[in-house]
Amino acid sequence: MGLNVMNKVMSNKWIIALYVLPALILIAILIFIPLLLTGYYGLMDWDGIGAMEFIGLENYITALQDLKFWESAWHSFLLAIFSTLSLILYLAISLILASKIKGADLLRKIYLIPMLLSSVAIAQLWIKVYNPSNGMLNHILMAIGIENPPAWLAEPSIVLYAIFIPILWQYAGFYILIYYAALKNIPESIIEAARIDGASPIQIAYRIKLPLIMGVVKVTVVLAIVGSLKYFDLIYVMTGGGPNGASEVMASYMYKLAFTSNDFGYGSAIGFLLLIITLIVTVIVRKVTATKEEIQY
């Protein structure tokens, strides 16, 4: 009888609705409907305030022929490549950190600090670091005898690399944290057995530790690539996409079209393309990195 009452109470439709609907309605209205509307607005000629005029696929066709859009997509793609490559560096640091280092716990917390700061604060700080005459970087470079160091954020050919350094700085602690936790999960007995068999530390890292945390590495590749496609705050504050579009990424291009040029229709089309590209890339990267079977310890 007890279980009957229990089942009856716990499957009461009204109560379920009362508990789920507030959250569900909120994400429906503020996440899903806007995403659909983005695609719809992309079919309009619209300045955001006046009447909309239906123009079919014109905005999307314009986007595909828009050199600036492709340039911004290329920059997003480059950042995704850089971010993925930087995982190797993070992995190397984590391997060192997880090899019986005293103070490893404190170190990984120190590494994490930049991750806690807002992108706006990070951008403002690095604008100062890169300041041509009084910044920390050029001070150091001049002190070691390099004359005329560049104005990092004003050079179209280097601005994207200059922006990537704070990104590297911001996320280092995050990825090291994940790798470190995964490495610490490897049973000590496996490492010990390899050591007794005469494997060198490098061999142990490369042949045993790395394969064992491959699942985690794959997840971080997805995070790094998909995350790069969404970069906005840092770039928007540091350079506004400049100089002359040299650091424009998809999100910043879309934002400018809508909220600076008041071209809401075209901006929405770019926003929808950003959504589609992100989803496609997520699916592809997940497929490529999918593990056939979980590794058994």
């Binding site: 806690l116 807002s118 700080l125 920390m136 906005f232 929405s268």
Partner: protein
């Protein structure tokens, strides 16, 4: 490995630590200097005199307002997010209904989407209902966008709660509401505190929603406030430094006191993607 080998490894880790921490120390140093000192002296020199008045000056001229806005908007959004997320997670994991997996899937899809793709329609929706330049637009947006990640962190904990607790409560004649608020919710305290930390970091640091939906200075939060503010103080490095330090201080303090929770929360949020 030999002692020299280990020494080399410590040097490597030390260099990384310096790279991670030094820009922030440099920022703190110049927040206590004036321009003459910053521009003429070495960037690594300690301030000749600690100019705390940089801090008072920027606090008085507007940063104080942004600070309080950040506090209350962050706080209210955290409470709303965790309440709604806990209720939904409870119904999805503990109650018996057919569509629960589908509904859970909807929330989890929310983890993947780029927020920028939704921002134009959000702006026009808020414009239609007169919520542009109203801080409540920010509160509900933060709540909605943090629900998926919060639920994801809560889920594992809810799945492991023993059935017997609910059985005992219901057989004793306890209503579902009473059971949820008096028994289940207090039991999830450890995981809730992790979600509080994650939500706090996200909300405190959020930029693009406030930058888009809020135009009056009196409603701006710190991220957007300091952005405008620094424009005004373009050349006064001391003031800029003080502003940035004030804006990051609450998170740094939270980290010092709850570093293990922060590590836990950030690891838990990593699974998204």
């Amino acid at each position: 490995m030999g002692r020299i080998g280990y020494f080399f490894l410590y040097i490597c880790l030390g260099i990384v630590a310096v790279f991670q921490i030094f820009p922030i120390i440099w920022l703190f140093l110049f927040s206590l200097k004036d321009n003459r000192e910053i521009f003429s002296g070495s960037p690594f020199a300690l301030p000749t005199e600690l100019r705390w008045d940089n801090y008072f000056k920027v606090w008085e001229s507007g940063i104080g307002t942004y600070f309080w806005n950040s506090i209350w908007i962050t706080g209210v959004a955290i409470i709303l997010t965790i309440l709604l997320a806990s209720m939904a997670t409870f119904a999805i994991t503990r109650m018996q209904w057919k569509l629960n997996k589908l509904v859970l899937g909807l929330f989890m899809v929310g983890l993947m989407i780029p927020i920028h793709s939704a921002i134009i329609p959000l702006f026009s929706m808020f414009l239609d209902v007169n919520l542009i330049d109203n801080p409540w637009s920010i509160v509900i947006t933060y709540t909605a966008y943090n629900l998926p990640i919060t639920m994801m962190i809560l889920l594992g904990f809810y799945y492991t709660l023993p059935r017997e607790i609910e059985e005992a409560a219901i057989i004793d004649g306890c209503s579902v509401h009473r059971m949820f608020f008096r028994i289940i919710l207090p039991m999830t305290m450890p995981v809730m505190s992790t979600t509080v930390i994650i939500n706090m970091i996200y909300n405190w640091n959020e930029f693009v929603f406030v930058n888009t939906f809020i135009s009056s200075d009196k409603f701006k939060t710190l991220t957007v406030g300091i952005q405008n503010f620094i424009g005004q103080y373009m050349t006064d490095w001391g003031a800029i430094g003080a502003t940035l330090i004030i804006s990051v201080l609450p998170i740094i303090i939270a980290f010092i006191f709850f570093s293990n929770k922060v590590v836990e929360g950030i690891s838990a949020s990593a699974v998204k993607g």
